[in-house]
């Protein structure tokens, strides 16, 4: 085992994602604790051209190949796993994203290492420990890892991306880019279609979550939005039920919004949702659970029943 920290570089359309820079920021801190160095592995299309932007790493391993498309869940995972096997880092970091999920689980299983998900913070002292968010952000858990090495899947926002843009030696090493036989082949990528309303351009958003309970109740929230001159947005459960179109989704798999006012009704505040709205100027949250994580990012909150609140506010706006 080395004392190094290995980072999986997530990239799309020729750009390294912020999630990667956040990993590099965490990796720099961890390398300080282990006395090792930070290695970044960039695999796939355009990998060589991305190495120059990875100055937060001491060493950059480049496997440049066009054979994986934008991302290949099997190809990237297997190629990264073989690096973990050969380099034996103490800590391996992946983002807790759609890409990182495919890579992290495979790597941990293929190298028989523990995997820790939903990580907010990792420490590599005598033992490897982490703080994680469970139950959609309702609970924070401290964990300890058995053994000397592990893979950590980091939540968005766990460290500032700017902390991972520089600070390393940035030495580039080109490595074998032979792609294994694959049962998964990349076909193509699709960008989202534009919707009837652009929620990223609205001054006020009324956002509804699971607390709205049924499709029939959406009308009441729409009336409030109309009275406010606001657009109606929602968290993922509402979109997945088909109650509102995908273009209204706020969060990790939807859109990031920064309105002047974000009124969150019945949204508990899962990390994936907070990621898309925490930069709003004024966040007002209504939720029946006083311990809902949404109150952690909201500026103002009322703990109560949204079906009591909505008509009261609508009356005041219409009256």
């Amino acid at each position: 085992m080395s004392n190094d920290v290995l980072v999986f570089v997530e990239h799309l359309n020729g750009e390294v994602t912020d999630a990667t820079y956040e990993l590099l920021a965490t990796a720099r801190k961890l390398a300080g604790q282990t006395g090792g160095s930070v290695t970044a592995a960039v695999i796939g299309t355009g990998a060589a051209s991305l190495a120059g932007g990875l100055g937060g790493a001491d060493q950059i391993l480049v496997a440049d190949t066009d054979a994986l498309g934008a991302f290949n869940p099997q190809g990237h995972a297997e190629m990264f796993a073989s690096l973990v096997t050969s380099r034996q880092p103490r800590v391996t970091l992946v983002p807790y994203t759609s890409v990182g999920m495919d890579v992290g689980n495979h790597v941990a299983a293929a190298t028989s290492q523990p995997l820790v998900s939903y990580c907010l913070k990792v420490d590599a002292g005598d033992a490897l420990t982490a703080t994680c968010q469970l139950y959609s952000g309702k609970v924070e858990a401290d964990v300890r890892v058995d053994g000397d090495t592990a893979v950590f899947a980091m939540l968005a926002g766990a460290a500032p991306a700017d902390g991972g843009r520089s600070g390393g030696a940035g030495a580039v090493e080109t490595i074998d880019a032979t792609v294994p036989d694959l049962a998964v082949s990349f076909v193509g990528i699709a960008e989202p279609e534009a919707g009837d309303v652009d929620i990223t351009a609205e001054d006020i958003l009324v956002a509804i979550g699971r607390g709205i309970e049924s499709e029939d109740n959406i009308e009441e929230a729409q009336e409030l939005a109309d009275a406010l001159g606001a657009a109606l947005a929602a968290s993922r459960p509402i979109i997945d039920q088909g109650w509102l179109p995908k273009t209204r989704q706020v969060g990790k798999s939807g859109l990031a919004v920064k309105p002047k006012v974000y009124l969150a009704l019945g949204i508990s505040g899962a990390p994936e949702h907070l990621e898309g709205m925490r930069d709003s100027s004024v966040i007002i949250a209504v939720n029946s659970d006083p311990q809902a994580p949404i109150f952690g990012v909201a500026h103002y909150g009322w703990a109560g029943d949204l079906f009591d609140f909505i008509p009261e506010l609508t009356d005041r706006l219409e009256g």
Partner: protein
């Protein structure tokens, strides 16, 4: 296409959680079907309707609600259900995956589907750990499938609505985030029929071990209203205050 769908019971996301040491206080905790597993079931049923074949649902007996969950899946159109163990203590994702891998072993399935994640999976995602255990290819965060010849075309969501399509050779494991259509509803009468159909088999298993090498040492609830200035009083007071805030923000 013969399809297995793995279902998990998770703490009801609308309930307030209470803690007992380094775990949830589970005495009065209500469980529901993991919402992503509900989508996995729906996608499995849609694929069966398109291609023929069967859907078999599996769940570990880690909560009282599991039996009802399996009967509901059968009522929706699953052909058979297997409840693995009864009155089991909670076990980590690695331990759950090991049980599923063993149960699936002789099933000869073309496709194994489960939800992409569950809110308690601190040590990895069951669907992908099952794929690793079975030595099968996998794709996570799947938002739609189209059956092909010896393969399935899957749409994977990256982020911010960006998706990519993949052709995946069968057999394979998919972690479903969203089915093509919203999960179907089923009438209570149909669930009662399912209860009497004999389609649910109880499989006796020993209490599985945690296998992740990850130990939870402490759990905390976030501080109440941390960050937010909480508005006191009833809904009228709340509406008055919010109106003030809207005016102060210059949007009224």
């Amino acid at each position: 296409m013969n399809i297995a769908v793995l279902l998990r019971a998770v703490p009801d996301p609308v309930e307030e959680l209470e803690l007992d040491g380094a775990d949830l206080d589970r005495d009065f905790l209500g469980y529901v079907l993991n919402e992503f597993d509900d989508h996995a079931l729906e996608e499995g049923l849609l694929l069966k309707e398109e291609t023929g074949g069967s859907v078999t649902v599996y769940a570990l007996g880690m909560a009282d609600e599991v039996e009802q969950m399996l009967h509901t899946a059968i009522a929706k159109g699953a052909d058979a259900g297997k409840k693995l163990g009864d009155d089991l203590d909670p076990v980590d994702a690695h331990g759950q995956a090991a049980v599923f891998v063993e149960a699936l072993g002789e099933g000869n399935y073309d496709l194994v589907l489960s939800g992409v994640q569950a809110s308690d999976e601190i040590d990895g995602q069951v669907a992908m750990l099952v794929a690793a255990g079975l030595g099968l290819p996998h794709v996570s965060v799947v938002v739609g499938t189209t059956p092909g010849d010896g393969s399935v075309r899957v749409t994977k969501e990256y982020w911010a609505g960006i998706t990519a399509d993949y052709d995946v050779a069968l057999p394979a494991v998919l972690g479903i985030q969203t089915a093509r259509e919203a999960p179907r509803y089923v009438a209570v009468a149909r669930i009662r029929q399912a209860q009497e159909s004999g389609a649910l088999e109880d499989v006796d298993i020993d209490q599985p071990d945690n296998m992740s090498g990850v130990t939870i040492t402490d759990m905390r609830l976030p501080d109440e209203g941390e960050g937010a200035e909480m508005i006191e009083g009833d809904e009228e007071a709340a509406a008055d205050k919010v109106l003030e805030l809207l005016q102060a923000a210059g949007v009224r």
